[in-house]
Amino acid sequence: MMDILGLAFKNLLRYKRRSLLTGLLITVGVVAVIVFVGLSGAFKEAIVGQITDAVLSHLQVHRRGYMASIDNLPLDRMIPAAAYKRLEGVLQANPAVTAYSPRIKFAAMLSNYAQTTNVRLNGIDPAKETAAVPLLPSRVRHAAEPGRLLQPGEVLLPEVLTRGMEIKTGDTIVLVANNKDGSVNGMTFTVAGEVESLMGPGGRDGYLHIDDAAALLRMETMEISEVAVRVKDFDGLQAIADGLEAALADMKTPRDTPLFELHTWEALSPFYNVVRMIDLMALGIQVILIALVLISVLNVMMMSVYERVREIGTLAAMGTSPGRILSLFVAEGFSLGLVSALVGSALGMGALYVCNLVGVQVAFGRAGQLFTLLPRIAFGEVVLTCLIVLAVSVLASLQPAAKAARLEPVEALRHV
């Protein structure tokens, strides 16, 4: 085997410029795949992190049927207090859950005494919410008191409203809301700051204290719209969600259907489609790499066979078996792929290292928040890319190699 590879390398060096150009083409392809996968992975990680850590958390629990009407923020599909207690027990008992935050979500009329508009609001327990979505405080601007999210009697309003209505921190506003029975209630609040907008559901909501929300909606017992849950192992999210769903399965509605429904961030955020698109683009660039390797190796090996017909005849005449001749040419394609893949991997990983040193920044969200990407690629991804290159190189060499092996020695020896 080593002999065949040794001879293959020597034959590649025989046509230095051609081998170099083909190798360079494959190398560039491998570098492109590694850099793209590294950068897109870091972008995904940063954006998914932002969405889950600043708005959604990792998964959410709702009463069954709530998600179907979530755009209306229905108050008649809340989790009853007793059921929430049991849900809390399940969440507290699960070691995979690091934090959870109950929310009361509702729509209200907002008045600054001069103008009125509608607003979507989340009633939250500030401590629990900060634990479940740790980046929420970083979205607050012009805070009344740095480091404090909000306290009872305060409201955080979305920046799109504060700017339009010229509401400032410290101003008093009135919130008017209908409760689930249809009766109207109004309360005054002090603006504690503005919340930066983010893409996706909940990205333009305001916040107030959960007790204030319950009071505004005249709840006799606390009912919860959703519970945001943060887990320890993000990569094992689906398994954790499945475990929680199983643990909650015995809690039924009067119609004997499960009381709760769980959704991971993928089902809650439209950005998941962007993630899938990025994955698709990564697959696309791998397909381009495959095409690049296939065409370049096929071309170089066909030329190699065509130029060495007489030499193949000599090898066959000396007693080299057709299988051995086939291996010789496949080994050439393999060697070309191997060297190119190794060099490309080294350069690609070097490029990612440089990106990490330099710090690639991307803007995300309406506010154009800057994220520094930390591109990296799993070793398995690099190995997979190399294996793809090697497999395609061998595949591309097979046809020319088979042609060489099939040459009739007597005709090959006549070739000039």
């Binding site: 002999d3 001879l7 007489r310 030499e311 066959a316 005449a317 000396m318 078996s321």
Partner: protein, 234 residues
């Protein structure tokens, strides 16, 4: 004992609509360990006869036996195995592998065909290189050699597997007269040293003189046989 036996061998080729008989009913025997030449003008059938002996081609009619093995019905794989085990080849244009050194070229049949280890090959390759006077050039590449040196290397490569028979198609055609004589003398010496049968084709009268057995071909037919006493029994 005859190493090659042609019995009414005919080889026909299709050339467009026409069938050309390159060899016609040739019957001949080549004695073992002989130094045999196939002679004749271009198109007489010398190369065709060598190709048939070398198992590179199959007779259209008749029977051909080489080293006790009937050539008919051999598959390509069997043919390659037979050539690797019993035959050596010397080509008019030397046909050394340009990417291999002299040593590696001679080593090739042992390493790549007989799959011997590098260590096991070394004594045989060194001995052959010494025999053909190329031991000092072992590290050189074909492009750095003269025509005579290339052909000496090719002779060493042909002999390295200790074949029963070496076939040489016009081995001196690309050499000057003096070098050609030296190469023929070398081949003869190798025959004496290793007991290998040499069969070569030529149309050079000076080279023909060196042959012990001489088959004269014309238009695919065997027209004359000359042999030293006791060499050919027809």
């Amino acid at each position: 004992m005859d190493i090659v036996v042609f019995d009414n061998v005919t080889k026909a080729y299709r050339s467009g609509e026409v069938t050309v008989d390159a060899l016609r009913d040739v019957t001949l025997r080549i004695p073992e360990k002989s130094f045999t030449a196939l002679v004749g003008p271009s198109g007489s059938g010398k190369t065709t006869a060598l190709n048939l002996i070398g198992c590179l081609d199959q007779p259209t009619r008749g029977t051909l036996t080489v080293a006790g093995q009937a050539m008919a019905g051999m598959s390509r794989r069997q043919g390659a195995a037979f050539r690797g085990a019993h035959l050596g080849f010397v080509f008019q244009d030397f046909s050394l592998l340009p990417v291999l050194s002299v040593y590696e070229n001679v080593e090739y049949p042992l390493r790549m065909i007989r799959r011997m280890s590098k260590k096991a090959c070394r004594p045989e390759v060194t001995r052959l290189l010494a025999s053909v006077g190329m031991e000092d050039q072992a590290d050189k590449y074909p492009a750095q050699l003269s025509g005579g040196q290339k052909q000496r290397t090719a002779v060493a490569r042909a002999l390295v597997g200790q074949p029963a028979l070496v076939l040489a198609d016009e081995p001196t055609a690309n050499l000057d007269g003096q070098t050609a004589q030296k190469v023929i003398a070398l081949m003869k010496r190798m025959r004496d040293e290793f007991g290998t049968t040499f069969v070569f084709s030529t149309h050079d009268p000076r080279i023909m003189e060196q042959a012990e057995v001489l088959f004269h071909l014309e238009d695919g037919r065997l027209v004359d046989t000359q042999a030293a006493p006791g060499e050919v029994d027809r």
